[in-house]
Symmetry: C3
Subunit: 139 residues, 3 copies
């Protein structure tokens, strides 16, 4: 069994951001030399997500509006978590909607994707260095 | 390490549908010959989900009502994504609640399930041919 | 390839509860002898979740309030599922927000975590014996 590990680092300029990391993960897969297996991609921070969906700017804005409606940032005093001195209570909730991780099949040396699947890093409390883990196992 | 891959195809007659695919995945597992490992089942389309829950018709109707309340189909002009000519903006949101994939343990040649776990394909933008990927790795 | 399986059992005294199981999973990993691979942790029941987030009591209360707002327990007659004699319709919905499972990378014999990642068992219909599956594969 082969095993591969890499961290991808991000530092977004805004609080929330959505970054297409499909190319980065494909590069990892090539480096891993794995032909058949699974590829785990997860946020290593608890106020960010990794998810798979469409690379379409309108949709990304729809997600952002919807998450802000389901778990608004303001008022920050709404969240008990923010009594610890944080202002990111909403980010912990948004991340649960979008998910922590994706597991992608690796077949014939490729990410085994349908026609529109793209991997995104979703940042809900950015403006600092944060990272994603790529772990690939197989043969 | 053994590795197995199969696509399951669907074409629902209504926009939204919920299909129990547990039997199909069990058939895949038998074909794979894997006794110990993991089984990934994921939607290959970004307006559909694979999830695990109860095979109870009232619950499925509860899910459908709830998702429609959290991300209503109408008015279709509500979603920026629909400016691309689509009318499935809601489906991309519903899919994030229900999830893209499940990973199921394989133990002793069986899907290692609790008493009520069943795998469902949830379609949020149907009436066309779409598919699910089953990937099994192990020994 | 090594393969390891263990069930963790719970019986919460209240309907809803959030239990940090990171230490239990670390113990499993040690027992497994796996150095490189993946660790799947999933609820075996369909009214409970396994998720990864912060071990902070305010946040846990925020999650509980938010889930109750998105899928309230009362009135129990609101849910068609409850016509079967159950009163846990809300629990099936809450579980979809928080997720069924997590997949954690195993690197160098450790759960490969970011600084604040902790694994939680979230119970939404407790006061009876229920369980979580830990499955580890790798080498």
């Amino acid at each position: 069994m082969k095993s591969y590990r890499k961290e991808l680092w991000f530092n977004t300029s805004s609080r929330r951001d959505y970054i297409n990391i499909t190319g980065d993960v494909e590069k990892c897969l090539k480096e891993s030399g794995v032909n058949e297996g699974v590829c785990l991609v997860n946020a290593m921070h608890i106020t960010a997500s990794v998810y798979i969906n469409d690379n379409e700017s309108g949709l990304i804005q729809d997600y952002d509006d919807w998450l802000e409606q389901l778990a608004p940032h303001e008022p920050v005093t709404h969240y008990r978590h923010n009594r610890t001195g944080e202002d990111n209570g909403d980010a912990h909730l948004k991340r649960q909607i979008m998910g922590r991780e994706v597991v992608v099949a690796v077949s014939d040396g490729r990410l085994d994707f349908g026609p529109w699947e793209q991997i995104f890093y979703a940042e809900f409390d950015g403006r600092r260095r944060k990272r994603v883990l790529v772990k690939i196992i197989g043969e």
